[in-house]
């Protein structure tokens, strides 16, 4: 949690420097492998079906984490991610229920646009109201979840089967599910071009030091705004992913995805003070967080412990990070 992987490294050193600069790329995947190994050990009949349900369960959370990650890298925070997922999710569920596949695809484009628009609203309010981002997004999250309830009073709606099978189906082997492919594809399609472009540089720059970035000629406000737009877009993908994996719209999904998405971002090595972190860590962390309750079921433990463990994990990871920093400071 102490190093970064901004884009375009002119890095020229060995594996050590790589690991140090990209903790998300090394630490979290290793951790996931360890978890998977433990899972297979305690549950030797781990099957492709289990792998598929893991991918389906983790996908919306991974996208919530991705949404949070973009905003946090830019030095902000978005506590409305879950509510935006809920809005886009119920919007898709309400409109697609009686649609055919083609219409459903078109509708999802519309839903993506609405997600980006909600993100844009967050961004505009944060930039122009000068109210701290925590307060703005805590409040807009409250508003968006009202909107979600307005669209769909209780869980319901649906989408054409063929559309749902994009997420629930499998490709090539039963081990590779649509949810996994969709997750990787959507994150890659949105994030890689951003990261490669000047915008990626600007996001990291304003997250690291707004004043220095401004004096270096960066349009800080526009960049902050765009970070929130990207957050809204990722949330919308998450909302569509949620209907693909559950088949219905859930207006009350908000709180879970906001908190767990933030947790995954933090566990994935994104520094809440901005400017540091990457996309791989948070996405993989979402898988770990999804795997925990599953493992508890395999161990015959109350899966409600999942939330306890999730909370404990966050607390322990950040406290360990603090402890390391403290010891290092003592030693210096």
């Amino acid at each position: 949690m102490t190093s970064a992987n901004p884009p375009h490294d002119a890095g020229r050193a060995g594996l050590g420097r790589f690991a140090q600069r990209h903790p998300g790329l090394v630490g979290m995947p290793l951790f996931l492998l360890l978890f998977l190994a433990v899972t297979v050990a305690i549950h030797p009949s781990y099957s492709s079906f289990d792998a598929q349900s893991l991918a389906m369960g983790a996908m919306p959370l991974a996208l919530a984490a991705a949404a949070q990650t973009v905003v946090v890298i830019s030095g902000g925070i978005d506590l409305s991610v879950g509510s935006m997922i809920a809005v886009t999710n119920v919007l898709a569920a309400a409109t697609m229920e009686h649609a055919n596949f083609g219409q459903a695809v078109l509708l999802s484009v519309l839903v993506l646009a609405i997600g980006a628009a909600m993100g844009a609203a967050n961004g505009l309010i944060v930039v122009y109201s000068r109210v701290p981002d925590v307060v703005v997004t805590l409040t807009t999250g409250f508003i968006w979840s009202g909107v979600a309830l307005l669209i769909l009073e209780k869980p319901g709606g649906g989408a054409p089967d063929r559309f749902l099978s994009l997420g629930a189906g499998t490709f090539a082997t039963p081990w590779i599910s649509g949810a996994l492919i969709l997750l990787i594809a959507s994150v890659a399609i949105i994030w890689i071009p951003v990261q490669r472009s000047r915008l990626g540089l600007l996001l990291y720059a304003i997250g690291s030091d707004k004043a220095a970035a401004f004096r270096s000629g960066v349009n800080v406000e526009r960049t902050r705004f765009l970070a929130y737009v990207l957050g809204g877009l990722f949330s919308a993908v998450g909302g569509i992913g949620l209907i693909m994996t559950t088949g219905i719209g859930s207006p009350l999904a908000g709180v879970y995805y906001t908190l767990s998405g933030l947790a995954a971002a933090v566990l994935g090595g994104v520094s809440l003070s901005g400017g540091r972190g990457g996309m791989v860590g948070p996405v993989v962390a979402a898988y770990v967080l999804t795997l925990i309750p599953t493992d508890l079921i395999f161990l015959n433990i109350d899966p409600n412990f999942g939330q306890v463990i999730q909370g404990t994990l966050i607390v322990l990871v950040v406290m360990a990070g603090g402890l390391v920093a403290l010891l290092r400071a003592r030693k210096r």
Binding site: A4, P6, H8, A10, L201, Y204, D209, G217
Partner: protein, 498 residues
């Protein structure tokens, strides 16, 4: 030969922040091929002027023209596009990006920047290194190289030579001259009169947000500039402070005794004794271990070796609170480190008294008011105790930081460069206060980066070089040339050989 083109003209610029007027009527004119000094006491409005010129703030009134064309910049990017780039005291580099990324951020070409870095003495810059891992001095040079690489027609340099070693300053001067020869304009902000008279063609002087004059900077003009900066009477009064001769201490128990102190990379082996009633000066170039020395004595960090005694007892401080309990207090270099900007002067001054757990209870408000007002009166902080500290000028803020310790009892005062970036009038007041404290029996350890001023305040001086004491002398011997030579380690080696 026709008169050189006027690159930049500023006319009647005004700017207020809430109730504080930062600029009232600032004007200046910069010709092509000219290096112009922008001078003024603290709070005169230099920084505000620079920030308006580079688009950090908008102005409330007045106009800026570049090559005769009226401009109004809304951001540093717009100023840069118009050919106006500035280099600040604190480099505008983003810590979590690499050097190369920082260059791209400001759209500065990498090759040109590399070339300028080479000229500044960084032959093979590691542009893949993160800015946060690089030393502060290097960052200043990178910031300068980045500004030069975008090839501005007007370069603004704000206090860049402060605490840079002499050879680097010389390199920077060479580049500034080169810029002049190419027919560009440079605005140079500095507190150092010597630099200004060597480097600059003219000086524009600001006082209280108003341009009070522009003058040639030929030799002998220093007095004139000081008068402009301070107003005539203040300048006269400031020149009156005379050094006080030191007195012998014999076998008295020192207030502070440091033996073979070692900490971090820089502080190797320092020993000295400081007596009650004495002001001991420390002279050193940047990074000779003086920061570690002060931090160890004040309990900000732990030492790696050696001993600290105060009033005859061996001490080990794990927290500034331990040092304060032993009567040792620190005024740090950067007042931003020590002040509570949003709180009142009263709360700032009273802060140390609430540290101990036993003082968390109800406050005796009347007694506190008395103590605070006494302290700020003694320092002539010219404002009411209720005002927020951030609304005060830098000099007044620094006075409050000292007043904080006057209001609580102390025996040993550590002052780390207390006058950095402060105008001459306040400086003299602070030195006079240090003398007064010593006369009343306190011991004072003073580091200052401005060598000529050591004689004004100190009884005795030790010079640090490479983390060791290389020279000790009385204030009478401590003229600038001797100090400077010792600070470069020259004297010590000659003495060793002898």
């Amino acid at each position: 030969m026709s008169a050189p083109e006027i690159l930049l003209a500023v006319n009647g610029l005004a700017k207020r922040f809430g109730a504080v007027v930062a600029l009232r009527d600032a004007s200046l004119e910069l010709r092509a091929g000219e290096v112009q000094a922008l001078m003024g006491a603290n709070g005169a409005g230099k920084s505000t002027l620079v920030k308006i010129l580079t688009g950090v703030f908008g102005a409330d009134g007045g106009e800026i023209t570049i090559r005769g064309r009226a401009c109004r910049f809304r951001s540093p990017a717009e100023a840069r596009d118009a050919g106006l780039v500035s280099v600040y005291q604190d480099p505008a580099l983003v810590p979590d990006l690499t050097v190369a990324q920082n260059l791209r951020l400001a759209r500065a070409p990498l090759d040109a920047a590399r070339q300028w870095l080479t000229e500044l003495g960084i032959a093979d810059p590691d542009v893949g290194a993160f800015v946060r891992d690089l030393p502060f001095q290097t960052l200043r040079l990178i910031d300068l190289a980045r500004a030069l690489a975008s090839d501005p027609s007007i370069l603004l340099i704000d206090e860049i030579t402060a605490s840079l070693p002499a050879d680097l300053s010389a390199r920077i001067f060479a580049i500034v001259r080169h810029w002049r020869e190419r027919g560009r304009g440079v605005i140079f902000i500095s507190h150092r009169m010597a630099e200004v008279s060597v480097l600059c063609d003219r000086a524009t002087v600001l006082r209280d947000g108003v341009t009070v004059g522009a003058t040639e900077t030929a030799r002998g003009s220093e007095e004139r500039i000081v008068e402009l900066m301070l107003g005539y009477e203040v300048a006269r009064a400031a020149a009156d402070t005379a050094p006080t001769p030191g007195q012998p201490y014999g076998d008295a128990v020192p207030a502070l005794e440091v033996n073979h102190l070692r900490a971090g990379r820089l502080l190797q082996d320092v020993s000295f004794a400081l007596h009650p009633g004495e002001v001991l000066g420390i002279a050193a170039l940047d990074g000779q271990g003086q920061e570690e020395l002060f931090d160890c004595i004040a309990g900000v960090r732990d030492r790696d070796g050696g001993e600290i005694h105060s009033h005859g007892a061996l001490r080990r401080f794990r927290h500034p609170a331990d040092a304060i309990r032993a009567g040792i207090v620190l005024v740090p270099a950067n007042r931003l480190q020590a002040m509570l900007p949003q709180r009142s002067i009263r709360e700032n001054v009273a802060l140390p008294s609430y540290g101990p757990l036993s003082r968390w209870g109800p406050i005796a408000m009347r007694r506190e008011r008395g103590r605070v007002e006494n302290a700020i009166r003694r320092l002539q902080v010219d404002t009411r105790a209720e005002s927020e500290l951030r609304r005060l000028s830098g000099g007044n803020q620094q006075k409050v930081m000292i007043a904080r310790w006057l209001a609580s009892a102390f025996k040993i005062l550590l002052c780390f460069d207390p006058t950095r970036g402060i105008d001459i009038g306040t400086k003299r007041q602070i030195y006079a206060l240090l003398r007064e404290l010593a006369a009343a029996g306190s011991a004072v350890l003073l580091f200052t980066s401005e060598l000529p001023e050591i004689r004004l305040a100190c009884d005795r001086v030790i010079v640090l070089f490479g983390g060791r004491v290389v020279r000790e002398m009385s204030a009478a011997e401590a003229d600038e040339a001797t100090l400077l030579r010792a600070a470069h380690g020259l004297v010590a080696r000659r003495e060793d050989a002898a």
